[in-house]
Symmetry: C2
Subunit: 644 residues, 2 copies
């Protein structure tokens, strides 16, 4: 943390431009300078390389007139008149020679008869029952490949079968596009290598590793360098050197506007900054520059922003340098399960989970933050909200770029509702045991899950909803919301409790003690919040008397983190979150975490397998080891009859 | 070539089994023995590897409560009441500290205000116009990743974004499936390395290179060994050794039944031959064996047969060993442009070119021979004729496994008709100049091309059809066959002539000399055949008087090859074929090779670009260098009006 002087240095962005305009402006300036380089390599090592020019066959294949069968090469004229009734006897050396498949055929022999069609008589004579026509069963020279024929065109990605044909045609080396060398520089003083132990304020550098592997996938050679500290001279010096030895330079500019400015200033000094700031979210603080005719791209620091900016601006340049055709990923139309508001100021990229429910492709948005690296890992696709749109309503459809094959998505059990670690465990087991079946879970809370079920956008909703009237869980609320026959697959009993600092320094024992300390609450509608309210009411404690009752966080872990980092003295949640954060835990009750679904979905194979895993000893052992779970009824089914 | 004794050794196949039965029988016996192996590797080197087990986060991300913005960290309670009308002045150190994005936030600070929202008054004071709520612009510890959370499930193929998340979660090494080692042995005494100069009877070994690269693509480590000669003891010895050091052995058994038998006998001695001979075409002589619990697969010798058998039998085993899910290639329904007859004895795999004509996906079969390696290179897909089918009629639809993305296929100009090298040249230029546009050409002769055009299965038909009435080319036949408005894009004039042995030892000068020598003819309907007949008729020469008039070959090159290999003394064809085979050439006339198409197709961008390339100086230079072409009218368009 620095002084106010640091603030004084900050510049506002240049006026941001649209994604298309940024791409066009950059490529237009860049294209005259970009030069694809070539090299001659051995054909046997050319897999997946891109050809420079058409390859022309040096040899024919076959190289000579060759027998296509195991049998005998004959003079066709000597076989005339042969039939079932008038077999013709042949004499070796005069009428035929024995040949194997691939043997050369010379005059006077001009046809081959298969071994199976030769009849050996009792007297040991070899006879045939059918005449041969000239060229029968002979592969003429050049049948497959002719000298001078084009084997591969230019700009072609070499496949295994291409290598076979090239070698057969006598081609041993081939000119291909040389892989461009791409320098990748993380920047930032707070950045540490993953191998170092992080202290407070340290950020583990991982973006450069993502970029490095995307470059490899894209056909470039990545050179990933250690982080450059935030030092104008160092950045300048490093860039001057990198540009000499690489076809492209990528700077991961750090997420701070101050730092980004260093990079922009250095690039202005060394060359031309074509674009600074693009109307996309995430990904806005991107820098597109040209230094000595070479592209230098500054990517934002947040992981998702870096990734999206890479796809939009680095990939087109890399495609040019590697001679590849721009390929857009597969796209599909999907129904959005949750309203998405977006601004007219930018194009927005929203990661989504996908699944097919009642023949509809359903997209459930994941965390939208630029820092949410896990949203990239969990995503099945990316939904694009155009710059001229204010958003997409729930139930409306939108275009999605697919990160997974549609065939995989079809066999995905779509689970929307409240989160528990048990979903991760089952999501892990399902594809491992039942090939090609997947579980996708989206976390919108219990009521959100039941609403998704009602709209036909989920197969199953994990819920923990208390009926304040009788203290029971889940059954009553499902009965009251659905007309059709429903079921509850019983999940686990979860111990809920108060989370306090290690050693419980304030001596908190129960709900009565909340009034004296700084509390942090969950959001309205959360099962934990309902349990709290039920207990406060039962005890006659007014919410107004609790300091921080109105301070809402949206996950168990966020509450645990708030307590752990002294943002609060006490919060309420499940035992596993407290354990993960090293907090003390005071149990106050048990809640039922179950899976609601229409009865007809019980027939889905994915649901049957879900139940099998839920009942398995392997899963129960894991839950026992984690602690805080009651598992005696896991996998049992409660039927909730439909109403008229 | 060996004596009859060689024939005596040959065994008939065991009864062949269907593809499905062979796969099931083999996998059933094999699965109890197959053991997937694992190894722990560095996460930074784990791209595209398959995870062994779920990876669990060691750290949270962020690791601490962090500022999400550049700005100031404030005590939210000190900002209460701030508004446009009642700005609140803040004092550094007491009310706020300056923070950059990512900086840790400590109590008493509990919110961040963006730099842009701070107003500096004339007196130098920093004021705010809006109160901050607790946790505003703070990324709580664990917001993205929580300790104990599952980052990746088991059996997951690691992507670049996964590597980023693993590193952020403090995971440095990861257990993954160890790549299986696959031994690949070509066999055969006639086989030479591509680097050797082939003599007669030699076959350039290329199958092992195709297999090697397919193994690499499939996630295995290929070890390709030099060819084993046809020697029982050598084969036995080599196999015994290979099985110790590899997870799987592939023998490319050579195409001879005799040789295959060696392999089968050795495998019977060393282990169990589960399947020998499968009802598929090409690919029948496949051997599926298990030796010491390890799979040993004998692939057929012909290139296409080896490839198809690899896909059917090696891929499923390799998928098991690499922990990958079986993925079937993309499939589509296509209309077949030519009748395909097949036998009930086997499932047949036919390579096809694909294109979209009038919204129909059209499949044009390529050469069906097992030796036609170029059919693999040229194919856009593979059509499967089931074992229980006798074939598919022209215009009927069938399922095709796609080798190319449908998006590429849509932008393909479908050309069906007579072949000339000029099509290869344009097919090469088109995607190089106009990204994403392709030309697919199928060779069925001029009349076949016009019929395909009539059935709406081609965009354009290259033809060279003589009108015997007046000696003109192409215009009259198109006019007589089509009612709608048609066009001819003029192609090239081609010099046709008689091909004779080098030095013309028989002194052949013209059509009159054909009577005295062994002739080889083209098939009925071929343009060259029509030109011959026209000239014979003009000169009053009877076809019956020509020895070999009824001997038909289907390409210029096959005719040239027949003359070159002394299968005949003289044949007729284009100059380029004679030159390719080193023959002498006696010009006898010029024919027009043009491109017929409906006038409406002239509007297609691919057709416009085709014409541009046809007219280009670059193409004309190439044709001039090849010789035998008249190019003065190339690219000019003749309109042929429609009839009522």
């Amino acid at each position: 943390m620095a002084g106010v002087t640091k603030m004084g240095k900050r510049n506002l962005y240049l006026k941001t431009v649209s994604v298309e305009e940024a791409q066009e402006r950059f490529m237009e300036k860049l294209e005259p300078c970009l030069e694809v380089q070539y090299e001659e390599i051995e054909v046997v090592n050319s897999l997946h390389r891109i050809t420079k020019e058409a390859s022309i066959a040096r040899y024919c294949s076959p190289l000579f007139n060759a027998s296509a069968m195991d049998g005998i090469a004959v003079v066709s004229a000597h076989t005339l008149g042969a039939s079932e009734k008038t077999p013709v006897a042949l004499e070796e050396g005069r009428d035929y020679v024995v040949v194997d498949t691939g043997d050369p055929i010379h005059p006077p022999y001009d046809a081959v008869i298969m071994a199976e069609d030769i009849v050996e008589t009792e007297s040991g004579e070899h006879t045939i029952l059918q005449a041969a026509a000239p060229w029968d069963n002979i592969r003429p020279i050049g049948e497959d490949i002719v000298t001078g024929e084009m084997i591969l065109p230019s700009n072609h990605k070499i496949r295994p079968m291409d290598i076979g044909a090239l070698l057969s045609a006598g081609i041993l080396t081939i000119p291909v596009v040389k892989k461009p060398r791409m320098a990748i520089y993380p920047t930032g003083t707070e950045i540490i290598e993953p191998t170092e132990t992080p202290g407070e304020g340290d950020i583990i550098e991982s973006n450069s590793r993502v970029i490095e592997n995307r470059v490899t996938e894209g056909g470039g050679i990545p050179h990933r360098f250690p982080a450059i500290p935030d030092d104008y001279e160092k950045i300048r010096e490093t860039l001057v050197h990198a540009i000499q030895t690489h076809e492209m330079v990528i700077i991961n500019a750090g997420s701070s506007a101050g730092r980004e400015d260093y990079t922009v200033q250095v690039l202005r000094e060394l060359g031309e900054v074509v674009v600074h700031g693009v109307a996309m979210k995430p990904g806005k603080p991107v820098i597109l520059a040209i230094v000595q005719g070479k592209p230098v791209i500054g990517l934002p620091g947040y992981p998702v922003a870096a990734y999206m900016a890479y796809e939009s601006f680095v990939v087109p340049v890399l495609n040019k340098l590697t001679g590849q055709v721009d390929t857009q990923g597969s796209r599909a139309k999907a129904v959005v399960s949750k309203r998405l508001v977006s601004s007219l100021k930018h194009r927005e990229y929203v990661r989504v989970k996908l699944g097919v429910v009642k023949d509809k492709l359903v997209a459930s948005p994941l965390a939208r933050g630029a820092g949410a690296a896990m949203s990239m890992v969990k995503a099945d696709g990316c939904l694009i909200i155009p710059q001229n749109s204010e958003g997409i309503g729930a139930g409306e459809s939108a275009e999605v770029v697919l990160y997974k094959a549609l065939t995989e998505i079809v066999q995905t059990l779509v689970v929307i509702g409240s989160h528990d670690l048990i979903l991760d465990l089952i999501a892990d087991r399902l594809p491992a045991i039942y090939q090609d079946e997947y579980l996708s879970s989206t976390h919108v809370g219990s009521m959100g899950g039941l609403m998704a079920l009602k709209r036909g956008e989920a197969h199953m909703a994990p819920i923990h909803l208390l009926d304040e009237a009788d203290g029971s869980y889940n059954v009553n609320v499902v009965k009251s919301l659905f007309k059709e026959p429903m079921a509850l697959i019983q999940g686990v009993g979860r111990v809920q409790g108060l989370m306090v600092k290690p050693g419980n320094p304030l001596g908190i024992q129960g709900f009565e003690d909340l009034r004296a300390h700084r509390f942090v609450n969950r959001q309205r509608g959360a099962g934990t919040r309902l349990l709290l309210d039920y207990n406060l009411k039962k005890r006659g404690i007014s919410p107004d008397s609790i300091l921080g009752y109105s301070q809402e966080l949206t996950t168990h872990m966020a509450v645990a983190a708030a307590v752990g980092s002294d943002g609060a003295d006490v919060g309420m949640g499940v035992q596993s979150a407290a354990m993960a954060m090293g907090l003390d835990f005071i149990p106050v009750g048990e809640e039922s975490y179950d899976f609601a679904l229409p009865q007809e979905n019980l027939e889905m194979p994915e649901v049957k397998h879900f139940i099998e895993i839920l009942k398995s000893d392997a899963l129960k052992e894991k839950l026992t080891a984690l602690g805080g779970y009651a598992i005696e009824h896991s996998g049992e089914i409660l039927h909730i009859d439909g109403r008229e």
